[in-house]
Symmetry: C2
Subunit: 240 residues, 2 copies
DNA sequence: CGGAATTTATTTGTATACCAAAACAACAAA
DNA sequence: TTTGTTGTTTTGGTATACAAATAAATTCCG
């Protein structure tokens, strides 16, 4: 049972600046569902029966439906009138399109980050980078994945553009599951690591132009590996 | 009473490809609220009292709350636990951040569009362009605005990247109200028109690099004029 | 026997009533 | 003016009911 380790590295998705963040039930439910979708407990195209989910989450229909609407607006779920919700299916085109946008967004973020990042934040990203390399050295994919995601989220955030960071997170969420599923081969993995080294170098040097190029290339590479894994999985297990 | 003319140019926001689109109440309500927010009937920071809105829209609380959640996920509304929803306030930083992202997105879209756009779609954009110039010549701001928005939406769509177009639309929606409020002076307006001419030229020539640069600059210009108007309005009517 | 028509069972969409807890407002007291 | 205190309103959530739409099961017919 490969239950992906719960994201260890906090990146403070919404502003958790307020003390004692009281979550409302729909927010909670949405969070749980998100997690289930990420680690595959809810596969794409799975019907989301309200009754069943209500029991499973221990809430009533009203907040559940609100949660589903939220997820729908995020693109993780699709609601069809009178037919209910399903986990949003991902197609090849979606992956391509999403990574294309992610590349542009993170490219911009990198450029901004080089101009604006504080030393402390840079240090933290470096620390994460070396932790990630440690996980890579040990071959611990889950931990590597989490650290990797954290780094990218922090770069997205380091641009100091909240809208950018938020948009990046939301889009990234849509492909997170396939990202993790893409168990990269050693060659690609090593290449990714090398690219990360370059990223850190460019960021340290505050070379925005370079970082943007690296990030765009990195995302493109990631896209290819994800697409490959996606294609493989789909030829192996043909549902239709 | 400046009630902005209802968007004349369809850009097919969500896929209205299916015939007889039955809308569910929450979707409907969300649409109406969106419109009210766009044309200022609901100003930023307005409390959205459930009871009142239920009456106004003629629906019950259940679907209304779902609609509010949807709008919240889109960033048009903010729901604070136990405190209800308000129309999302916009601050200077939000405008800057949003336009920064919009610039990157539309830049990418432009580049993609140059590579992929079909002649028919290019012709349509050209047609819209000249309509827009006509509105400009007559000084019809509302019509100009609508045509302008339509052009940008079509460019965003012409990249053939659905995720990109969708993301652009959603982010643009957040600043649409201030965009319209920014009643550009003649100088800026003429400049915008000139930039649009350049856009069309670059798109016709399929010069992706150039179009990207033009679009990024255009958005930056738009940002400045919006910021100026925003600042002016805020010094004039100081609420606090 | 296989497909079409029809009945039946589920499920969704929405409304309503109800309640607790939180927020807000009004007002008295220091 | 600030601080308590006390109603009042509003929100968050549950439970229930029911029509309409979908999906499933069943019957009917060629």
């Amino acid at each position: 049972m490969t239950s992906v380790r719960r994201l260890v590295y906090n990146v403070s998705m919404p502003d958790d600046s307020r003390p004692f963040e009281r979550a409302t039930l729909p927010q909670n439910a949405a969070g749980q569902l998100r997690q289930m979708i990420f680690d595959g407990a809810l596969a794409p195209a799975t019907r989301l029966n309200e009754r069943v989910l209500c029991e499973r989450l221990g809430i009533s229909r009203t907040p559940l439906r609100e949660a589903l609407r939220m997820l729908a607006a995020e693109g993780l779920v699709r609601v069809e009138p009178n037919r209910g919700a399903i986990v949003a299916p991902i197609e090849r085109a979606d992956i391509e399109a999403t990574f294309e946008v992610l590349g542009a967004l993170e490219g911009l973020a990198g450029e901004l980050a080089c101009a604006r990042i504080a030393d402390a934040e840079l240090a933290e990203i470096k620390a994460l980078h070396f932790e990630m390399r440690a996980h890579h050295a040990r071959g611990d994919r889950a931990a590597y994945f989490a650290a990797n995601q954290a780094i990218h989220a922090r770069i997205a955030a380091a641009g100091g553009n909240a809208v950018l960071a938020e948009t990046f997170e939301k889009l990234n969420a849509r492909v997170k599951r396939v990202r993790y599923a893409a168990n990269l081969g050693h060659a690609r993995w090593d290449k990714a690591i090398a690219e990360h080294d370059d990223m850190i170098a460019a960021l340290s040097a505050r070379d925005g132009r370079a970082l943007r190029a690296i990030l765009e290339a990195h995302l493109a590479g990631k896209r290819e590996s994800v697409l490959a894994a996606f294609a493989a999985e789909h030829s192996a297990a043909a549902y239709d």
